[in-house]
Symmetry: C2
Subunit: 439 residues, 2 copies
């Protein structure tokens, strides 16, 4: 499929315009957002908490709003997990140089006309925690609701960028051939939609698989994914796959690989499987050994596992905010932090160059015009060289190389898609970058 680039970018602009118009017409109700603070609402307070204030996996309440304002900071209490160990490497704290005047920095939300303060943007986005690093120092750090500095929070698809980076490291070492078809490494997937896709296509999510990633509407494939992985309780009489590695071979093909970007989490589970196959270790252990331990993290991370212990590489890394920020800072410094070269410089450079902007258009991201997706990272191609790790409900690592700034954010927004947060996030981050560049 040949794509006409100018037309595509114009179309993307049009979609953005419509989305912005829509967003501009929706007033942001800060009081309503504040009213969903899980402490104020008393979720899971008391021994036992009252039935109408209890949160369980088993009745589905863990993944309902506003309950998830508590759940996202308590994931291991709801699901089985495996540690991503920090090992015995020294924990390296960041130097702090807090400047809370950032709160008063203003920006105009996408599609809006009225300026908003940074402080209000945090409320608007149902922020659980946010940290801003500038030149490697913490200049801003806030926690809300159920989150504290010491408590891990789920990163959802921010997880993908950790494993995309790991896979790219294996490619750089020659352990994984990006042009090889998946079936070469995983014969179990030979007859699935992934079989004849290349490793590179999986890492850029340009595989043509029969899977609809849908967090809100009907999607039998997504439902099967959630039942297999343990993200949702299975209906009575369920007879489908009961683990992620049993579910992946059931995904068929639909279309031609390599032409269009479509955001589909099972691609990352395939990469997790590939990492396990070529290293002989659990992806959680590989993450620990190659990244988590080596970048001076202050605490263990952890990952949800399915019922046979497979860590869910597409969505299930939990960690402290500072350790997610640290991952961004390591990337910003060309893969190096605290005198340790964690990720090869060439791997970081390749990630920041991004993927196909043409292929990206098919994904339909009105708030990300001109962006691309590569090795499970979102790349802006803007004049600051911004790139991001992004997860549903507002999880983000935002790296602005030109401003020497990294922002890590955990959130529990009532809507899954980041299109709902971007209008009051991306311009806020840009404003913060410009403000910091003047300091």
């Amino acid at each position: 499929m040949k794509i006409n680039k100018p037309i595509v970018l114009a179309l993307a602009g049009l979609v953005l315009f419509h989305a912005s118009t829509l967003l501009a017409q929706t007033p942001i109700d800060l009081a309503a957002a504040r009213a969903t603070d899980p402490n104020t609402l008393g979720w899971m307070v008391g021994t036992p908490p009252p039935p109408d204030k209890s949160i369980r996996f088993e009745d589905g309440s863990f993944y309902r709003f506003p309950q998830w304002r508590w759940s996202f900071s308590h994931w291991r209490e709801l699901r089985p997990t495996v540690a991503v160990e920090r090992g015995s490497w020294p924990a390296i704290p960041f130097v702090e140089k807090i400047d809370s005047s950032l709160d008063q920095v203003t920006f105009v939300p996408m599609g809006g006309t009225t300026a908003m303060t940074w402080a209000d943007s945090l409320v608007a986005n149902y922020t659980d925690g946010i940290m801003v690093l500038h030149k490697g120092r913490i200049v801003y750090e806030r926690y809300f609701g159920a989150l504290t500095a010491e408590r891990p929070h789920i990163g959802f698809s921010v997880t993908k960028s950790f494993f995309g980076t790991l896979a790219a490291m294996l490619v750089a070492e020659g352990k994984l051939d990006p042009s090889a078809q998946v079936r070469k490494y995983l014969p179990e997937l030979a007859d699935s939609g992934f079989g004849d896709a290349t490793v590179a296509q999986v890492m850029d999510m340009t595989t043509a698989i029969d899977f609809v990633e849908n967090y809100t509407g009907e999607s039998p494939t997504m439902d099967r994914y959630r039942y297999a992985t343990g993200f949702a309780i299975r209906p009575a009489g369920y007879t489908g796959p009961t683990s992620i590695l049993a579910m992946l071979p059931t995904i068929g093909k639909k279309g031609t690989h390599g032409t269009e970007f479509h955001y589909r989490t099972p691609n990352v589970d395939v990469i997790g499987w590939l990492i396990a196959r070529v290293t002989g270790k659990s992806p959680a252990a590989v993450l620990s050994e190659r990244i988590w331990q080596r970048m001076g993290t202050v605490d263990d991370g952890y990952m949800q596992v399915d019922e046979i212990g497979t860590p869910l590489t597409g969505s299930a890394l939990n960690g402290r905010l500072v350790d997610f920020a640290r991952f961004g800072e390591m990337m910003r410094q060309g893969g190096r932090i605290n005198t340790v070269q964690v990720v090869p410089k060439a791997v970081v450079a390749d990630i920041t160059r991004g993927g196909s902007r043409e292929a990206f258009v098919a994904g339909g991201y009105p708030t990300l015009p001109g962006w691309s997706y590569h090795n499970f990272w979102w790349v802006s191609h803007d004049d600051h060289g911004v790139y991001m790790a992004r997860g549903i409900h507002g999880q983000a690592i935002y790296i602005d190389p030109k401003a020497e700034m990294v922002i890590a954010r955990f959130a529990s927004h009532p809507l899954a898609a980041n299109v709902n947060l971007d209008p009051t996030s991306l311009p806020a981050y840009r404003a913060a970058a410009e403000w910091l560049m003047k300091q």
Copy 2:
């Protein structure tokens, strides 16, 4: 009920004689024990592991032998858990002065006539890990099978001694009245078998409740406990309680409180509830703040939680072997370790004085003649002043004040009851103590 002490002790001796005879007639097959090494058997190896080598909670395989030789070192991958945080206190390593000649120390198993070496006793007991401290230094440390020094292992009922100690601390502070009835603090239990029991009776397990603790046979009350807590998958159509705090009020009364010791785990869950009620915090947080953080642990511990996040104080603490040994060493030093007085000296002294030896006889422990149970600790009343924390399948902290020795052991014995391990454990520990006293 008035108990005739000499008769009771004679009866206990008779039971012991029979048990010993039985045990002496069962040859200990060391080769068979070695053959169940989970690494040798290949449990959970491969991506995915073969179906016949997979271990899941959902199909019950996690709690079958020999699978549990793997499960006990991987508990959080099977069940939801909450961290027992070590916080930011410095980790204090023990000085090592390894002397592996302990391997050749011999002893005669209870009821036996042939001497056995210490090294063989570890195999006989399906040991996963063992550490011996002498005068506060590590003199012996070994790991087997699925366990490593860095990996937490489930402590089962060793957990009880942590929470009995915590409750005793609250008693010492006047926050918990040992002579008050449970219903004073927990009106939810007023109509249950616990309602008119005193706090002290609960802490010594002399409550007369309608509950049969049975790990192998039929016990509807035990089944209900396991379904409520999440230790077993619920049968289809289960309509019983779905949390521990909903289950406890359903336990009735049977008999008279304060006369007989009967080992019943729900007593500890009541104490966990009491700790939460009088502190306003989760028992896991109280354990972290008052003990785990303050004794220089090297890693977080963690506890299984039920489906509304209540930590299971009777059975579900997991930690590294060295941190369990540290708890014993802190007790041995009168509640003090690394210059920190963690537990008041008077609380330790009270625990070591033990409970009623008469009441203990009713429990029926042939390998523990003359022992007693107090504040969820097992007290020998022997000439070394030995006392223990004990959990099914061989979890143990053994404290020998006279020999200045502490032993922590994790195991995955095919049988739950420690009566099966004591004959090749208690004499071995005594022999180690006598050997160390001569060094």
